[in-house]
């Protein structure tokens, strides 16, 4: 285990003994990652923050079932995945996000594009945001299990073993899901890559 995961385990055990401060420390340590994880599914900051809070309330309620032998983040992402999938399966979510070309529902979210843009030109910025929307659409178009496996491995940076634990499946199945996800994405992304300046 890494030092970070040791710290998570210590905090979780402290919470189980009654320390609320330890639990809120866990929230502080993982809120950013879980909010962004939820954002991959719902693409709405307010909803992502609500889901992240729901995840931690479930962690709070289920603390009695936490086993220190397991990595806390794996357990956390399992809960987060269930919460996010429940949300995207709701009819109201599907009705709102049926169109792959749907604009973001949160104009105030101000998504931060990670790569440094050498060209601050407004037109180039607009083109980049269009690119992000197309990337988002390509990801949303994947079947659910492929999307989950891909996001856990590539965005949340969980290993294949950890993804398998989260999804309650085998490592071999995870590799297959990611391979198929990449095949599905590659054909859509190849033309878009040329558009990046």
């Amino acid at each position: 285990m890494t030092a970070a995961s040791d710290q998570d385990t210590r905090l979780m055990l402290a919470f189980r003994e009654g320390s609320l401060e330890a639990f809120e420390e866990l929230f502080s340590r993982h809120a950013y990652a879980i909010v962004n994880y939820a954002y991959r599914f719902v693409r709405d900051r307010a909803v992502a923050e609500e889901l992240a809070q729901e995840v931690f309330l479930r962690v709070h309620d289920a603390a009695g079932s936490y086993r220190p032998s397991a990595r806390f983040s794996t357990w956390l992402y399992r809960i987060a995945t269930n919460v996010c999938l429940n949300e995207v399966r709701r009819p109201r979510f599907k009705a709102r996000h049926d169109s792959l070309d749907a604009e973001t529902t949160d104009p105030g979210a101000e998504p931060r594009i990670q790569i440094r843009d050498a060209n601050p030109d407004p037109e180039a910025q607009a083109a980049r945001l269009d690119l992000v929307r197309m990337l988002r659409g390509a990801l949303q178009a994947l079947p659910e299990k492929q999307r989950v496996a891909f996001i856990l491995n590539k965005y949340a940076e969980l290993s294949y073993t950890e993804v398998a634990e989260v999804m309650n499946t085998s490592e071999k199945a995870v590799k297959s899901l990611i391979h198929r996800a990449k095949e599905g994405l590659a054909s859509k992304l190849r033309p878009l890559i040329k558009e990046i300046g």
Partner: protein, 171 residues
Amino acid sequence: MDCTTARKSLTALEAGDLTGEDARRLRLHLAACKACRFGMDDGAIPELLPALDECIEPSADLGARFHERLMRHRAGRADSGVSAVPRLEGLRRWIMARRLSLAALTAGVVICAIIAGTYLRRGSQGEAIPAEQAIAENLPLLEDLQVISHLELLEEFEDIEKLSPESSLVH
């Protein structure tokens, strides 16, 4: 990261052998470097997605909002009798899930104790007290534990009832 290192590391990234900060730096380089990007195989292109996709900053007041919601949540659980200490909560759930089994086990222990007591106790003259007499003496206890309906002695219940002046079932 330079382009030579990036191209050498790409195979490891695709195989899932490059993780954490190294993977992040490689993705950022590939997303920013046209030359490296155009040389990528189709299968490797999805590796760029996390570097190209958007990240959001959670609201500044998220921590405070969560704290408020957590306090309400805990207050709600306290009102409904759920333990605030997770370990006790786990024990409570274990007991509630098995309450019928535990009740049956308790009833079995009581019956065994009564039967054992029947054969261990002696009257003033040293003779054994009949089983029916022992059960009649303990009838109120057995009624409280709702054991009566499970007893095979039910067919002899009228005789037992007559022996016990304390039973509420005596008409």
